[in-house]
Symmetry: C2
Subunit: 323 residues, 2 copies
């Protein structure tokens, strides 16, 4: 099946860069010596948690919205998300004067619902056992809205790929490893494409929570998989299904997937803020958790980039972690 999927090109990512560069932060690549005792490598944090709205999601959304037809823009867009994608879409659509409908699951945190509304989105929060996709499809059809998928869309992937361009631009030496958290796979698909097409020797390592390892399952079965349930502290990585576009890109460009436990994620998150003064969300810290897990397999002196994908941590969770 994946054979029919056309992969995005390097030019697609350059085009995305041209469209979004003036509207996103070029986030810093921060060298760190705080973990030298643990890891004998040159560690760099790609601090995408300092992006506007606190995560990389803005990039893909901007690229997607800018590529809509005028008619599509006039009618509006729709998505389903309770997290960073919802916030980024609400924020960007409002800036571009596009009406955005965001379907949120029943368990969404109140402050996230409130924030998306504040940015100007029409938020529809569902009841406990509602079928998210069914509701989305119904409203989409009824109103003629365009879906802005959280990950499985070539424009979304190309937008997230600009993170890879920035990594290459800011690296004095081409990295040996790039660790990227994987939810639905949009971020890693974009980063892997932008880096591998220029430097095929760079190892791109995806990181999934043990309790939400849908891409690991997909790659193992060699088909787009789903999970009956997900269970991870990293809500940002808890996609219950892989995408056909992201699967195809990951199959082509990603070297390995590392699975991390919730405990490993929490420890990585804690170390990041105690030792490096950086406050990541669980999804954002997952890449660092994988680096810590694999520290003995990473060669001494290797150049390792860790993508910190987001920073919108729930304060209750943070309190629990440092107490």
């Amino acid at each position: 099946m994946e054979d029919k999927i056309e992969l995005i090109t390097y030019q697609d990512i350059l085009n995305a860069h041209k469209i979004i560069a003036d509207h996103v932060h070029h986030t810093p690549l921060i060298p760190s010596i705080n973990f030298k005792e643990t890891l004998d490598a040159n560690l760099f944090f790609k601090a995408e948690l300092f992006q506007k709205i606190g995560s990389f999601k803005l990039r893909g959304v901007l690229n997607k919205l800018h590529n809509l037809t005028e008619e599509e823009k006039n009618v509006g867009v729709i998505t389903v998300s309770s997290g960073n994608h919802a916030q980024s879409l609400a924020y960007t659509a409002s800036k571009l004067d596009i009406h955005a409908v965001v379907i949120m699951p029943f368990f969404s945190a109140k402050n996230k619902v409130k924030k998306a509304k504040k940015f100007g989105a029409e938020v529809i929060q569902l009841e406990e056992n509602a079928d998210l996709m069914a509701v989305l499809n119904e409203i989409k059809k009824e109103r003629g809205l365009t879906l802005v998928h959280p990950f499985d869309d070539p424009f979304i992937i190309a937008g997230q790929g600009t993170v890879g361009l920035e990594i290459l631009q800011d690296s004095v030496i081409v990295p040996d490893y790039v660790f990227v958290p994987v939810g639905g796979g949009g971020l890693i698909s974009g980063i892997a494409t932008s880096i591998k097409l220029k430097h095929p020797q760079v190892k791109i390592i995806g990181v999934e929570p043990i309790g939400a390892a849908v891409m690991h399952k997909s790659l193992r079965k060699n088909e787009v998989a789903t999970l009956d349930r997900v269970n991870s502290i990293a809500d940002g990585l808890s996609a219950p299904f892989a995408g056909k576009y992201t699967f195809a890109h990951m199959k082509r460009f990603v070297d390995d997937i590392v699975l991390v436990s919730d405990d490993e994620i929490i420890e990585a998150l804690r170390l990041l803020f105690v030792e490096a003064n950086i406050l990541a969300e669980p999804a954002g810290a997952a890449g660092f958790a994988a680096i810590l897990q694999k520290k003995n397999e990473i060669e001494a002196g290797a150049n390792v980039v860790c993508v910190l994908s987001g920073g919108n941590i729930d304060l209750h969770l943070l309190k629990k972690i440092i107490n």
Copy 2:
């Protein structure tokens, strides 16, 4: 008195840059839109809290140590500090194979004593009512050590001035304001010199805690002042005396001093990590506290740089703040 003090030159700062550039992180200038509702300005954080050892102090120390004579290097150096200066000196001296003696007051946190020792410094922790300067001078004389002052030294000031060079280098537009926390004044003296000599129109604003406003007092009295006691949550800004070099530089180049309360510092620190995912120490957050205090006086659309000078926060304090 200050007339006799020779100010450092722009060339001194360029020389410092040449010496230290390969050994320090060029820290990111992070644009932020997280506070747009509060402040109608373009806000940039100079994130010196991501410097090695977690603060700007490394810069001055490196410049000072590299400018010692071979004999001075062989005999060793001494300082008094319980904070970031102690850690930076211990770390750098050890890298350069220079013996470092660090005098620490009785109240120094255990983990700070431990850390300085781990870096290889000889730590002498004093008893409660010991006269720090008397002990320092005695040991210095007895052993022929060279003092590495925490702030009042032209090489230290020139080293900290490299922060200003980086701000100018990374700013697309020359900033309108640069807010800098003031302890003994080494950081702001360096930054103000490097920026004002090229762009005299930039407003350089110093920030002191109400309970440790020695430079404010000095400038008001037009002489180097001391405080009988200091009382601030920002231990990094609690110098009880101004320096003659820093006083002279500040008198020449600093536009204004803003005083902030402990409550304002804590609120700034809290906002920084809740809204911007950045964990500063109280001293590091003081500049942002001043910006919040002066938000109605800063013109709409102004380009404001906030120097986040350090991030070594005590975890107990952090717990108190978020609970």
